[in-house]
Subunit: 288 residues, 2 copies
């Protein structure tokens, strides 16, 4: 997906949120904002939004000297999701359709996205879970069921810390031995990295790899050979969240995107209303 | 008031709204966004937000070749406000406190601010009027009543088209012959100019001058000698809206600000909650 004009004010807001978390020094905050404004002004809008996100968050980290501004927020998200885990697992297992409930939980977890909002409260997470169990999904799950059934290898590309705990329900419903779970190669926003795979318990369930990149999405040219090989050889790819959608929606691959369409640009690209839970393959006609 | 970091994403959003109204050409839209990002990155944040607004909207007009992107929106706002005028005037005149109701109407009209939102619906205007008649005002009106009573000259600095019709109620309650009503010197956002003073009927009530500047506020150094003289010699200044507050709140002058505090930065500077109707002198301790 290209970068739309509406992404640009959002980049600046996101940079401000991140640099405030990275440092209390207003001089550094101003410097980073200036650098981000300049970089955004020179951006090629044919690139995907996470390409700019990568540049922005590198600037935040470089000038603040804070290697991982969202570290404590990520740990807190993991801990809260782990608190919820036993109850939610029981809800999945006792539901009439555990697979579908697991998908709905995985999508609900995508609300924990600090690229879209500077803060996601526990109340918002709780409400999103409740709503996600019953509200209509955009797309349908038939392709996912069929592809998961016949696949020998599934690459599950995670998105955020906290959310990764919600992915466990779906991973547990599918065959764990088929699945490789991929996280980002380095800290960017609150995206899950190897540390979050450990904290969330995901590492104990399935093989976890990192993609070698610090973009908040999957920019294949920036990823490690190991990740690219896993990506190219997977029979099914499950890609969580907006950043993965933005970077992969144009690809002719067996990908299922699971996300909350939290921003109007992405909702418009998908063809649904803002806030909709999405379980869908890419709409090829919208790609690019 | 200085420019806060939170103003910066808002500048970019405002530029995008304006350039979309100014031209349908995506190439020009992108060029303007790039210029605005660059100009914002080089801005001195000790300046007030309208100083940057002036630069942004000059870029929009220059590159789009559209001298007044908001012209039709301004005329529509004036027309809608004039449709409401007879009923609202009756409400003012039959109310228990016509002066206070007139102030509340003037503040309600400040919702028609396209610097804050890209669109203000008739529903929002109607709801704001209804709410404004009863909700608590921040500040108090004693200073206004006393100063208006003893003043020989009152300078009433308007803000937006449409809103200028709502200012008529207060102008009519005060002594028209004391009042000079000031508008912007040229088009910027939907701020009222001489054309709007004509369309709204304000010109038939009181002397109207323009301030000689195309900033969306009052930057005195950029204003005409005639306006500055009116400003410096007025016994009372009534200043409408956020842009006038942002540029004048630090001044030690007999100024009463009437506005809806529509953005969190200004609400924070005033010390009230976002959305509050404000009728207040500057809080000197917050200035700068």
């Amino acid at each position: 997906m290209k970068t739309y004009f509406d992404c640009i004010p959002c980049f600046i807001r996101q940079a401000l949120d991140a640099v405030r978390l990275a440092t209390q020094d207003p001089g550094i905050q101003e410097t980073v904002l200036q650098k981000v404004l300049s970089a955004t002004g020179n951006m090629d809008l044919k690139q995907t939004p996470p390409a700019m996100g990568q540049v922005i968050h590198r600037l935040v980290r470089e000038f603040s000297g804070n290697h991982d501004p969202f570290q404590s927020v990520k740990t807190e998200s993991n801990q809260y999701a782990l608190e919820l885990y036993p109850l939610l697992r029981e809800m999945v297992e006792t539901s009439a359709h555990p697979m579908e409930t697991a998908v709905r939980m995985a999508i609900a977890g995508n609300i924990i996205d600090l690229g879209v909002s500077s803060f996601v409260s526990r109340n918002v997470i709780d409400e999103t879970i409740t709503r996600s169990l019953s509200e209509p999904l955009y797309g349908n799950l038939e392709f996912l069921w069929q592809a998961a059934d016949s696949a020998e290898t599934i690459l599950y590309i995670g998105d955020n810390a906290g959310e990764i705990v919600f992915d466990r329900f779906l991973v547990e419903q599918l065959s764990c031995d088929k699945i490789t779970y991929a996280v980002r190669g380095g800290p960017v926003i609150n995206d899950a990295t190897l540390a979050d795979a450990e904290e969330s318990g995901m590492s104990r369930l399935v093989k976890v790899i990192d993609n070698g990149s610090d973009a908040p999405g999957v920019i294949l040219d920036d990823c490690s050979d190991r990740f690219r090989q896993a990506f190219e050889t997977a029979d099914l790819i499950i890609a969580k969240g907006q950043g993965n959608y933005e970077t992969l929606s144009h690809m002719e691959m067996p990908i299922v995107f699971l996300l909350k369409a939290k921003c109007p640009v992405i909702a418009g690209h998908i063809g649904c209303r803002t806030g909709t839970p999405v379980a869908s393959r890419a709409r090829q006609e919208n790609a690019g």
